[in-house]
């Protein structure tokens, strides 16, 4: 991604304020939400925009996330452009409805401010919330920085509403680390946003009384699977649309986005793969190691659902050892969720490098440059010894 930007203004905003501002610029028809740390501030800011008459949105302050997502689904089914936000237990409580939104092919767009799940209670960051929703049929886009969280929201909307896709999307950023940190970011003009996202005119909706439809009807053995197959194809197809929209965003505003970001990867031997803010820390470690002549690099997937397996496998061709860092544990699976995906993507490829997985940063546990050094150290050990002793496990504190 190029740091240069065509847009003028640089403004210091927290991740949450930036998302709220993006929502103001999008001005969705309906927003139904319920407060939860660390995403609360988004709707708090947004409700000020609403109160000041800056948006035409219907803001529904419901009594739980279960109701929030249900109201979003109802509104989207009626043909509205709908957005919401949540975190952690809130997302967990939406679980039942996540599948309804995606199964009904309603392009709801939600910011998920990543936070650990209870028990024990933690309000700090990890990815167990959004990883728990990875099979729910939602597109998942991850954001390293405040700028990315802001930019990703417009793109997620475009992708979700694209007639080829019609699938809900969540944009994730790290709780507190990104949501509460102030960063200087470049904002788009309102008119630029309006031009980029366009108007949302669903082909079918409950408000189109001349063409009545039924939603969520009972299906039996003869058809349920066909619905799922169609849905599966649509979300897989979203990959191309994400790439297309990311490119267009770059052409218009100077910041282009791909399916992933490759940082000093071209000639890298040892590579770390990680989502969200930890990528930034890893880049610092990489720069320092590169200064000493070590060939290290980073691959930061931006899109996790649909998973760009081919692109990731190709980007890793030529690397000698890979460590996937997961900020969520799949509790006795074969490594964390990102690790399993990456390893499967590489399986059967010629010259497949050894891949290890390490769980890190649960419940806000710090991930520092020193930790990144440790991970690269482990990878060079593997290269030296020629074998992997521990394919996956927890990162050493």
């Amino acid at each position: 991604m190029e740091p240069a930007t065509k847009t003028k203004k640089q403004v210091g905003l927290t991740g949450n304020s930036a998302v709220a501002y993006a929502m103001k610029q999008i001005d969705p028809d309906v927003c139904a939400a319920y407060p939860i740390t660390p995403s609360t501030q988004i709707v708090e800011d947004f409700s000020s925009y609403y109160a000041d008459g800056k948006v035409g949105t219907e803001l529904i302050t419901v009594e739980s996330e279960h109701s929030a997502m249900s109201a979003c689904i109802g509104a989207a089914a009626a043909g509205a452009r709908v957005m919401t936000t949540t975190s952690s237990q809130g997302l967990a409580l939406m679980w039942e409805m996540l599948y309804v939104a995606s199964g009904l092919r309603l392009p709801v767009v939600m910011t998920v401010v990543n936070r650990a799940l209870s028990a024990p209670i933690s309000i700090q960051c990890d990815h167990s919330d959004s990883m728990g929703a990875r099979d729910s049929g939602w597109i998942q886009i991850y954001s390293e920085t405040v700028q990315e969280a802001y930019d990703n929201l417009f793109q997620a909307l475009r992708v979700a509403e694209d007639a080829r896709v019609l699938t809900p999307a969540m944009v994730c950023m790290d709780g507190f680390i990104t949501s509460h940190a102030i960063e200087n970011i470049a904002l788009l003009d309102d008119s630029e946003v309006k031009d980029f996202i366009g108007e949302y005119r669903p082909k079918r909706s409950l408000l189109d009384v001349d063409n009545p439809i039924t939603l969520g009807a009972m299906t039996l053995q003869d058809s349920y699977m066909d619905f799922k197959h169609e849905q599966s194809k649509a979300i897989a197809g979203a990959k191309a649309v994400v790439a297309e929209v990311g490119k267009e965003f770059g052409e218009r505003f100077g910041r282009s986005y791909g399916l992933m970001e490759c940082y000093r990867l071209e000639d890298a031997e040892a590579v770390v793969i990680v989502l969200n803010s930890a990528a930034g820390t890893t880049k610092v470690a990489i720069d320092r190691l590169r200064d000493k002549g070590t060939k290290v690099g980073l691959l930061k997937p931006r899109l996790f659902r649909p998973f760009p397996h081919e692109e990731i496998a190709s980007a890793l061709a030529g690397t000698k050892a890979v460590c996937v860092l997961d900020r969520a544990d799949s509790m006795s699976g074969f490594g964390g969720p990102l690790f399993s995906e990456v390893r499967s993507a590489l399986y059967g490829r010629k010259g497949c490098p050894p891949v290890i997985g390490r769980i890190f940063g649960l419940g806000g546990r710090d991930y520092t440059v020193e930790h990144a050094f440790g991970v690269f150290g482990e990878l060079y050990d593997i290269l030296e010894k020629g074998k992997v002793e521990k394919p996956f496990g927890y990162l050493k504190p």
């Binding site: 319920y34 939860i36 740390t37 708090e44 739980s64 209870s118």
Partner: protein
């Protein structure tokens, strides 16, 4: 005295009450803001528990999520801090597995009546033996002052910038209508009376609900231009309520806009765990 221990001033009329007996001093200081009513409620609760004669290990305190729900963390009973809105369901499980335990649930108005409203009515309906203390501060304190189902119409909150347009739930009426067999209201201002009310609630067999009006100066107070926590206590808790024992003697105009304090409703009805046990025995006999 450990650093977190609570010191009580010696007064002429009373021997100092040893709160530390029931607290976990290493978990103090608590998170509550200066002026918050939740700590006052906790003190009344501990004195009531002391008077009830229950041993610490006989009690299980369960809560959901919220400032009020932090209570169990500070007390030396069997305690469980669960999920927002679900305290009563967790507590129901504990009670059915261990009917011998005295269950006390500490919950907020949001926790009990908004996200957990469904569990609230069904717990009352079953009349399962537990004491539910609803710390009613008319706001979601923990998440920054959004309106709750007890925020009065017209009141300001983070999510009602031009005044709340939603009507309220009357916690006590709701509990009674849903089937609770003991319903009472107290305030953080009337601490002695609250202690007596909670003691009666603990002694009651069946679902006992005590709505405790207390104050959140940080959010409700600031949003609604109260000068201080004490002013909130005076206006909302003292002047805003009338004791049931006096209500009969007062002319209707004096009762207008005031909430009743004290035990509002008490009756007897089959308790859920007992009914459950009887059913089990019957089913086993017919086998």
């Amino acid at each position: 005295m450990p650093s977190g221990a609570v010191a009580e001033k010696k007064t002429k009329s009373s021997v100092p009450f040893d709160y530390n007996k029931y607290l976990r001093p290493n978990k103090l200081p608590h998170i509550w803001c200066p002026g918050c009513g939740h700590g006052i409620v906790l003190k009344s609760l501990l004195r009531a528990i002391d008077k009830s004669g229950l041993a610490k290990d006989q009690i299980c305190m369960v809560s959901g999520i919220g400032c009020s729900s932090r209570t169990p963390g500070y007390v030396d009973f069997n305690t469980m801090h669960t999920l927002h809105g679900r305290a009563l369901s967790f507590a129901t499980g504990v009670k059915l597995a261990k009917p011998g335990l005295k269950i006390i649930v500490t919950t907020g108005d949001g926790d009990a009546l908004a996200i957990g409203g469904n569990h609230f009515i069904h717990t009352c309906r079953r009349n399962i033996d537990m004491t539910i203390l609803v710390y009613s501060n008319a706001i979601y304190g923990m998440t920054g002052g959004q309106f709750s189902p007890t925020t009065p119409p017209g009141a300001m909150s983070t999510t009602s910038r031009y005044g709340n347009m939603e009507p309220i739930f009357d916690c006590c009426e709701l509990a009674k209508a849903a089937g609770a067999t003991f319903v009472a209201r107290g305030t953080a201002y009337h601490t002695q009376e609250l202690e007596r009310t909670i003691l009666e609630a603990i002694k009651h067999k069946g679902t006992s609900v005590v709505e405790v009006l207390d104050q959140c100066p940080t959010y409700y107070g600031r949003h609604n231009k109260f000068k201080s926590a004490t002013q909130m206590m005076e206006v909302i808790e003292k002047e805003g309520t009338v004791s049931v024992s006096q209500a009969d003697k007062l002319p209707p105009e004096k009762l207008k806009g005031k909430l009743l304090r004290g035990i509002l409703y008490r009756t007897e009805r089959t308790e859920y765990c007992e009914e459950y046990r009887k059913l089990m025995e019957k089913a086993q006999q017919t086998k």
